[in-house]
Symmetry: C2
Subunit: 84 residues, 2 copies
C-alpha cells in the first residue's frame, strides 16, 4: 500500500470514529447546550448525501464510512432535539 | 451534470459549511461544556489527513473542502481547549 493510501484510510477511519465520543458524552450527560442544532442538521444531511453518493457510485469505503457516521451524527442530532 | 454528481457536490458543500454555525456559536458564547474534546481532537486530525490526501492526489475538491473544514474545526478545538 502506498503511504498516501494509508493517509486516506486513516482519514476515513478517524473521521468516522470521531463522532463516537461525542455521541457517548451526549447520551450520558443529556447536556447539549453548547452543541449547535444548525451544525448537526446540516452535517446529518451532508452525511446522508455522502451515503447516497457512495452507494450510487459503488464506492464501498465512502458508503460504509458514511453509514456509520450517519448513525453517530443522527444520535447526536436526536439528543439535541430531545434535550434542547 | 449527472444528478448523482449534484448529490456529491451538495455533500461536499454541506459538510464543509456545517461547522460554521458551531464555530460562531462557540466563539460567541465561550460555552464548550457539552462539546467533546476527544471528538474535535480526532476530527481535526482526520480533516488534516483528508487535506494531505487531497493535495497529494491532486484532488482539488477534497483538498479545498478540507482546508475550510480544518479552519472551522480547528477554531472549535482551540475554543474547547481555551474555555475548558
Amino acid at each position: 500500500m502506498e503511504p498516501i493510501e494509508i493517509v486516506g484510510y486513516a482519514a476515513a477511519v478517524l473521521s468516522t470514529i470521531s463522532f463516537v465520543p461525542q455521541a457517548v458524552k451526549t447520551i450520558r450527560t443529556k447536556d447539549t447546550k453548547s452543541i449547535s442544532l444548525v451544525m448537526y442538521s446540516l452535517f446529518t444531511t451532508a452525511v446522508l448525501c455522502w451515503l447516497i453518493y457512495g452507494v450510487a457510485t459503488h464506492d464501498a469505503p465512502v458508503a460504509l464510512a458514511n453509514a456509520f457516521t450517519l448513525l453517530f451524527a443522527g444520535i447526536i442530532l436526536i439528543c439535541k432535539i430531545k434535550y434542547k
